[in-house]
């Protein structure tokens, strides 16, 4: 995957977490992912369409997600409540929206977020698109951004 699509997500997650959660994020070495299993139990998913297509997943262990959502919302929600899922969705929305704003000369739309909660769930991405995992650490635990995006055929032809 072109590094021009990785850097915006690194900048974005650091900006979103520092602005909305007042929490620094340490970003570790990105790696190519080879299986469909989500990194952790809670996944917020956003689709991208337009000049760049694919999906972005923000994945957390339940305990970390719970602590992060408490910091984000200023109150604690049960992991199985709609409010918890809503907050996870808004976080992935902000990280993805903010990142796509940094793509150079690309017209990209994002979908409304979906949230999946449960151990061992799988997220299938397009077979023609490699998935890059960016491991992140916070004071409240680890999380991962999983990016499976590529330029659309139309955008590639135009370039």
């Amino acid at each position: 995957m072109d590094p021009q699509y990785i850097t915006p997500f690194i900048k974005s997650i650091q900006n979103v977490f520092s602005t909305m959660l007042h929490m620094p994020v340490t970003v570790n070495q990105p790696t190519i992912k080879h299986c469909n299993s989500a990194a952790y139990d809670v996944s917020g998913i956003i689709g991208m369409s337009g000049d760049v297509v694919g999906s972005v997943v923000l994945s957390f262990p339940k305990e970390t997600a719970s602590k992060l959502i408490t910091a984000f919302c200023g109150m604690e929600f049960p992991v199985d409540s709609p409010d918890f899922a809503d907050a996870v969705g808004e976080l992935v929305n902000m990280v993805s929206g903010s990142a796509k704003g940094m793509f150079v000369d690309k017209d990209v739309s994002i979908s409304c977020p979906s949230v999946v909660i449960g151990p061992g769930h799988q997220i299938n991405t397009r077979s023609d698109t490699p998935c890059v995992t960016i491991p992140c650490s916070t004071n409240e635990g680890d999380l991962a951004i999983e990016i499976a995006i590529r330029e659309s055929n139309a955008a590639s032809k135009a370039a």
Partner: protein
Amino acid sequence: MKILLVDDSKTMRSIQKSVLTQLGYTEIEEACDGQDALSKVGAFEPDLMLVDWNMPNMDGITFVKHIRQNDKTTPIIMVTTESEKSRVIEAIKAGVNNYVVKPFTPDSLSQRITETLTKKAA
């Protein structure tokens, strides 16, 4: 001062509501998308609207265009992750008065709200 919050995320509406309450605004109505907002705007008659862009059923830009067909004056602030220049221009052309990019600090949102209401009062 009556304020309508239009965002599909309850989390985001709560964060905005908390900023507005701190500014002393307590008459707040919430809508979860553009369609819901259109159904509430007539009865509520807001003095200010904070509108998200990406929402199910009817997005924020479509809602703004609907509103501006009949109401050219009620201030609208777009509060969205859409930060591209082209999007900001599109929103302003549709009739948005001010623009806040998520993520935002309470101070930056407060500043935009005050700025927008001051301009309207002038």
